[in-house]
Every structure is written in structure tokens, then in C-alpha cells.
Symmetry: C2
Subunit: 185 residues, 2 copies
């Protein structure tokens, strides 16, 4: 029942309009249709958009623990509609755990063929150090996850250090100040 | 310069500790090492954790526009440390655009082999309707992205409707109240 407000919001949106109907019809048809192949569409976000939307706020959830206790975060007035992982229905330490896991799995999105950097270059997937640093982010995120499970803020200081280092490693090489030089192979 | 606070936070974390050093050494070694294969490690998060951490807050960023104008969101007191996409350095309508893109690309994470549901079942990747509904989420997210680009809140009402429908389609079948029955093949 905890997600009631979120679900109510979804219902409030209604199930009207031609496009919704098409999606719904597609769903019903899929019950008996042969299995469609997964889409091989180009990625939607460029690297910059993904960093701003996903890696930035979720790493901030981990970094938050350096200065504040997640257990003392006041939930949003309407937690089921919260846009902040820390103040939503699944907030506090659970949000720290889950943001760390999300960072770990989202490392996959840094290996998606076809994703562009904001300057139009391809992500340099063939570079040995790119792969190494993506793996470094994954490892650092798992380190943060394990630290979050302990709810020990000294461990979170160390985990924030490890995570920040994994970010900086990649930024240092692939995100120079001059945007034209980013993501060079 | 907009990310200064975030970077400062990262620097404040320091570059000390044995683990950080190992990551750093790995990075330096990678400059000349042969290319390592991408990890084929099991996914870190189960589906429930990913929903709570990623799909829940980012869809709420889209749903937010039903009632409020993203252009009028007050930035956090420290936007570079914000854990809320809407109030951070890259907030407002940009956050709505980017959350929609993030939802679209994160659909890939719903197709990751080996990811478990919270009851221990595998995600039912072989089910035709699962694939169809993952594609439906991707399409709905792109519809929301295009609506966000217009900054037209009437279009966002429609987009919220479409997105909510794509969520409900899957929840209706694969997330019944009894957790033991979730993700049935």
C-alpha cells in the first residue's frame, strides 16, 4: 500500500487518448503474438544527459552521507510523488543502498554501443581505459552499497572517497574543460 | 563551472585509502594494458530495487509537471549537491527532459539477463509481452521527452498519461499484490 499515492497519480493521469490506446492494444496483442526481438534503437540520451540526470543525483545520494544522516531525512510532504530518492517512499538508508546499486548497474549504460558524447563523438568504447574505468565505477558503487548496508557513516566517508575517485578518473581524461576535446579515442 | 560544488564535494572526499589507490593504479595501468573484456557480472540490483531507486523518482519527475511548472521550481540551497533532479544544477525543464531520456535508456536494464525479481524469480525475459512492455516504456518515455522539449504542460498531461499507462500495463500483470506471484513466466 505504500505506493498508493504514486499509483493514484498514475490513475489520475487517466487511460485516455489514442496513443495510450495503441500501447494498451499492443500489450493485449502481445499476449498471443510471437516474441518480438528487443529493439536495437539508438540510445536516447547522450552521455552528458545521462550524467546530469542519473549519475549526478544518484552519486549525490551517496555523497550526502558524508555530511548528513540519511536516517534523519524528513520525508517529503507527499512521499509517493517525491522526485528525490532520499525523501520518497523508499527514502533514507534504503535510498542510499539503492542509489549505489543503480550506479553499479547503470555502468552498463556507459557501454551501450551508439551512445554519443555531447560533442557528437561516440563514447570511446574501444579504449582499454574506458572499459577499465566503467568497471571501476561498478566496483566503487558496490563498495558504496556494502557500506550503506552497515549504516556506518565512517564507512560511507570511505565509500564516498572511492566513488568520487572513480568519477574523477574518467573525468580527468574524458571530460576536459574544452567540450570539443571530450571522449577522444 | 556549474558543477563546481559537486566536484568540490568529490575532492573533499579526498584521494586517500588503499582502495582508492588500487582503483587509481588500475586506471594508470590501463593506459598501456590490452583491452579488458567488459564484465559479465550478475546485475547488482534486483528489479524491485531498480524500480524504487530509478523508475520511481524519474517517472515522478515527469508526473510532477501535471501539477507544477518545472520552470518555477526553486533550486536547492546547494544545487551542486542536490539529490533531486528537479532542484539540482541541471533542474527545471532540463531535468524533465533528461529524466524522460533516462527512463527510455534504463528500459535496457529491464532486459539484463540474470536480473532477479525480489522473490528470487528471474525477470521473465522470454515472455513476449515482457519485451513488448519494455518497448512500450521506451516509447512512452520518448513521447514524454518530446513533450518536455515543448515546455507545454498540456502536452505533459498527455505524456504523463502515456507513461503511466506503460507502467500500469506491466504492473497489472507482473506486480500482483502477492509478491510471491510477481514476475511469473
Amino acid at each position: 500500500m505504500m505506493q498508493d499515492g504514486h499509483n493514484r497519480r498514475m490513475r489520475r493521469a487517466g487511460v485516455s487518448g489514442a496513443i495510450a490506446a495503441v500501447i494498451c492494444a499492443g500489450y493485449l496483442m502481445a499476449q498471443s503474438a510471437p516474441q518480438p526481438a528487443p529493439k536495437a534503437a539508438a540510445p536516447a540520451a547522450n552521455l552528458n544527459q545521462l550524467m546530469r540526470s542519473l549519475f549526478f543525483p544518484h552519486s549525490n545520494v551517496v555523497f550526502f552521507t558524508q555530511r548528513y544522516d540519511p536516517a534523519e531525512v524528513k520525508p517529503a510532504s507527499e512521499p509517493s510523488a517525491s522526485t528525490d530518492p532520499l525523501t520518497g517512499v523508499f527514502g533514507g538508508w534504503e535510498a542510499v543502498e539503492n542509489s549505489a546499486l543503480t550506479l553499479a548497474d547503470s555502468a552498463d549504460l556507459l557501454m551501450t554501443p551508439g551512445r554519443k558524447c555531447s560533442n557528437g563523438r561516440d563514447m570511446p568504447l574501444a579504449n582499454a581505459d574506458w572499459v577499465q574505468m566503467v568497471n571501476g565505477l561498478r566496483d566503487a558503487s558496490m563498495f558504496a552499497y556494502k557500506a550503506a548496508l552497515t549504516k556506518d557513516r565512517d564507512k560511507m566517508l570511505q565509500a564516498s572517497d572511492v566513488l568520487a575517485t572513480s568519477c574523477s578518473n574518467c573525468h580527468g581524461k574524458y571530460r576536459p574543460g574544452n567540450a570539443a576535446n571530450r571522449c577522444r579515442p
